[in-house]
Assembly symmetry: C2
């Protein structure tokens, strides 16, 4: 039997946002690995081994998935959102550098920033950047440089992992940098737990934004200088004058 | 009867990448509007009016969709990929500024850059930018400034609309700017017609890239300075040293 490894995106939470491609891969799997709240979304069935693990164990999980697939198992590693955006796909390829190289497929999903943007309107309707604000895996200086250049280039910005208990002060500094570079008028949206029963959407100006508006379940989207409101929606026009 | 307008993403082409949420909206629709190759993907049925239209008619199409929904129809405007990324959602909100304001929902889809990234490996696994290279709706100088600042910030880059018959020279200039700012060693991937029978994936160094490698069906992804190959895959590591 030839094993394989699929790295699959479950989307932001609502089962109606899981692609049929991912559902089909899960139906064929012998093993499902992932961070425990994501594995909890997979229905148990006979012949399927569920292997939940903790956060920050991405490389261990990736190595285990590659090993099982190399031994002939049909393995799905699940991520929330899209596995290629600040999620498990990069960890799998890192682990492949000094590990087994079975057949690997990445199955895309609806990533948090696009789910959040859809609920807000179309704030990412023109050129934009996606930035992970966690400094667990990169120096803070890199984040600050990218923020400053991205605002100068007048991109809209989508922030993953804006704030956590272990990094309480970083996001306050991010707001300061955004105001220094772009002023206080740009719109900033906080989209929490999108597509789940806990969903909460708030849009304010950068001048009104406070660090407490974000937590670890929040996607933050900052508009470009052109981003505006119409009715209850926030959008970035397609044209730059 | 209360009408509504859904702006729905059909993903890159493969029906297995259409979300159940979009399929459900299409099943309830009385009218489907969109660029004709996208409307051609919708199965005809009794009670459903298909209204295909030409490219570059986005605002007219958006106004027609809003008008029909305000009159009580259940309208879906289809985009390829995700409607919020260089697609129909922004056009709908633009049209709403001086038109009717029925209930509007944006239904996310798998956008071309994330479908392409998944097929290549995980080139967008760290901070990245999405840039539309068409200068139909923005001055060329804006594109050039964004490119230069994005390379200096060491983002990975995803380019929509890299090249068309009406803009044969712009992409050659883009390659020159990328080499001026980032040298010739970065990886650049050309992902054509992803998830369709015509799919073609090519990855070279920036020094080897030529403008002819892209056409209007190609998604172009440029790595950051950290993007690398492992086996047949291209990925950007999660860490910055």
């Amino acid at each position: 039997m030839t094993g394989w490894l699929a790295v699959a995106g479950l989307g932001p939470g609502d089962e109606a946002l899981v692609t049929p491609e991912v559902t089909a891969a899960l139906a064929e799997a012998t093993h499902v690995l992932g961070y425990f709240p994501y594995v909890a979304r997979i229905a148990p069935r006979e012949g399927l081994v569920l292997l939940p693990s903790d956060n920050r164990e991405e490389l261990l999980r990736a190595r285990e998935g590659l090993r099982l697939a190399a031994e002939g198992a049909r393995v799905v590693i699940v991520s929330s959102g899209d596995p290629g955006v600040f999620a498990m796909a990069s960890a799998v390829f890192e682990a492949m550098e000094d590990g087994p190289q079975p057949e690997v497929r990445v199955l895309p999903g609806i990533t948090a920033m696009l789910a959040a943007a859809a609920r807000l309107g179309a704030p990412l309707g023109h050129d934009f950047c996606a930035i992970n604000l966690s400094d667990n895996l990169k120096p803070w200086e890199v984040i600050e440089t990218r923020l400053r250049l991205a605002v100068r280039a007048d991109f809209a910005l989508a922030f993953y992992n804006p704030r956590s208990a272990s990094r309480p002060h970083g996001f306050a500094r991010v707001l300061e940098i955004l105001r220094e570079e772009g002023g206080t008028d740009r719109l900033i949206s906080f989209a929490r737990a999108v597509s789940t029963p806990d969903e909460c959407l708030v849009t304010v100006s950068l001048g009104e934004a406070t660090p407490e508006m974000a937590d670890m379940r929040t996607m933050v989207i900052v508009g470009s200088s052109a981003t505006r409101r119409v009715g209850a929606y926030v959008y970035t026009p397609r044209s730059v004058r």
